[in-house]
Symmetry: C2
Subunit: 400 residues, 2 copies
């Protein structure tokens, strides 16, 4: 029986997701309820994932958390909201009495350790994977099997979309208490096997405005954002769902680009204005449109979140040529052999016609590296006890 | 009698105007009718002006035009529309018979020469001043004294706002024939004597999408642009008019910045997206907001048209400190003594507090120079015959 063990530990992983219909703006800051629905693609954990171990023990005297090896303040409101919510769900399950009571007391304190397999410095949104992994891991340790959207959402809105693999929508919901603001899988990761994702990590010059503060200012000051949320997004959600269901890359790619652009437009309409795109981002936009114009069809599509990095969607057979085009326009500065990470990409020469069509002055070093990945599954439980990030003493294991 | 002279020549000047409520998008391409009203400030001709000479003679065998000394195609549609419209107005006046018939036949051909006193390479919108000057000069030569909005507008929409000094609105109008789409002075140039204008000329790296093609694509593809035109601009026109009438710089400055940002937001919402702002433009935006935050009030305000140059509004007593701040953030590269053009600016040291508050890494050379100017009058007739750009033979005089 688990209750006889001094410590129960569970380790899970969770993926990063990239929105193709963007979430920007809350209608309730506290409950993290959005002003519009959103839709995302879950990225494969072979390339990008968060791993989290949660352990509970009667010997622990307080809740504690370590992120990437460093202890952090467990009292931060978002984290507290997640812990409160998961314990509420666990109590609820217990009190309904439809299964055995939990073997370990809910009053036990929890230790949490979490690491990312990608550098935080890359500027990839890690909070979604992080809070999804936290919610999923805590659910295992406390034996909760109800919908985890709210637990993850309270940590970071878009985290609820990382609870599923494949293509995921976060329905905004209508209820004041947010009970219908939940994530739902639109299509599984096996649905569109040819789809590929390239993350172009851009050398950023300065830290940017955080998305929490940014979206709050946008809701307060941008007349265009409210219009977008109410009058543009609903039809786009339906159209994006259709494109995914029919594996219509032309439609998927164009709508992805349009929605990214509109999100950044509402940032610019914010006062003071918010600019997440850098000149390098804009050069990538330009490159993608030139590439597509050359091919007379939408073969690649960009999307940008709250930072200058581009996430590019394309189909498997276009990857080599597009990567060659990126390398032509943004020659690696010093890390030639580490420029391309993730899935292997067959080297291919660039045709003179395409080179001429791209019409750019190559700017060395403005893209740090590319991560090649694909659509992937949702959170996973790791059965191997060696995977635990916490030792039998409940403290982080020394890094290997 | 003029009719006995072999040639009648008139020379006029016209100003540049800068919109504080932006015009972007036509509801009728041919008649140049806008999807929303706009409002601008006329800049002083001591710093920026177009000079145009128009001459008619029975000896001319065809219409001809020279811009900045080079002969251009007189057949271009915009120019032809202006010529047709002014001749229509002249015929109309003649046929109403309320004054003497015109001494020179309307069938006479016209020669036109036009020069700007600022480099075209500066990327300052010269078409507004150019077409306003053309309309005004042709009106003198053909003896037309009716409203010239349509003549100027047919050349370039915003040109109708350069027909007046001070603060000018271009009422969008409702009629299908555009007869009520006219410019009107909101307040004369003497109304707000403390107002100053600084043009920050940015080193652009590439030619941009022209505004005619750009706004057409925006009208066709941006859902946000239509909403802006219909639901945002009308209230902003009223509010901007109030700010000008009350000389409320706080309100004027904030609304000017918000409307510039919203215009660029609709460009970004266009597909493919249009980006007129460069990283230097964004650094200027950042500088202005930091400057205002430091002073706890809106002391300076930026606006950007279809290019990276900033036009900054401020009051007379703030000019020296803001110019010092610009010179600190964007040190001149090699033209230290030519960095500041136009109105004299008293050199002033920058306080350490403000330097710290600006928090920027100085980037030398990204601003080419500053033109300091102010609000100015509308088009002027030059009486001095030496001012004519065309000689007695009807051809451009050699440059002095």
């Amino acid at each position: 029986m688990a209750s006889e063990k001094p410590l129960v530990a569970v380790t899970c992983t969770a993926p990063v997701n990239i929105a193709v219909i963007k979430y920007w703006g809350k209608r309730d800051e506290d409950l993290v309820l959005p002003i519009n629905s959103s839709l995302s693609v879950t990225l494969h954990q072979d390339q990008l994932k968060t791993t989290t171990t949660a352990a509970i023990s009667k010997d622990f005297t307080e809740d504690r958390i370590w992120l990437n090896g460093r202890e952090e303040d467990v009292g931060q409101p978002r984290l507290q909201a997640c812990l409160r919510e998961i314990r509420r769900l666990a109590r609820k399950r217990r009190s309904t009495g439809d299964e055995d009571p939990l073997p370990l007391s809910l009053t036990y304190k929890v230790h949490i350790a979490s690491v990312n397999n990608f550098p935080t410095a890359a500027g990839l949104a890690s909070s979604a994977a992080g809070y999804a992994c936290l919610a999923y891991t805590l659910a295992q340790v406390y034996g909760v099997d109800s919908d985890l959207s709210e637990v993850a959402r309270r940590g970071s809105g878009s985290a609820c979309r990382s609870l599923y693999g494949g293509f995921v929508e976060w329905q905004m919901g209508e209820r004041v208490d947010g009970k219908d603001s939940i994530a739902r899988q639109v299509a599984p990761e096996s649905h569109w096997p040819e789809l590929r994702v390239l993350i172009l990590v851009v050398s950023a010059e300065k830290k940017l405005m955080g998305s929490t503060a940014g979206m709050q200012t946008s809701v307060e000051t941008s007349p265009l954002l409210r219009f977008r949320a109410e009058s543009v997004v609903p039809a786009r959600m339906a159209e994006m769902t259709r494109c995914i269901q029919e594996r219509d890359f032309q439609g998927f790619g164009q709508l992805t680009m349009k929605d990214s652009n509109q999100f950044h437009a509402t940032c610019l309409d914010t006062f003071p204005p918010i600019s997440y795109l850098s000149d390098t981002s804009r050069r990538i936009v330009h490159l993608v449109h030139r590439f597509n114009t050359h091919h007379r069809q939408t073969k690649v599509a960009y999307t940008f979140d709250a930072g200058p990095n581009a996430v590019v969607f394309t189909l498997e057979d276009t990857v080599p040529e597009f990567v060659a085009a990126v390398q032509h326009c943004f020659p690696p500065e010093s890390n030639g052999d580490k420029f391309l990470k993730g899935l292997p990409v067959r080297p291919t020469p660039l045709s003179d016609e395409l080179k001429a069509a791209l019409d750019v002055d190559p700017i060395p070093g403005s893209i740090k590296y590319i991560i090649a990945t694909q659509v992937g599954p949702g959170p996973q439980i790791l059965d191997d006890p060696h995977a635990h990030l916490l030792g039998p003493d409940g403290l982080p294991k020394p890094a290997a």
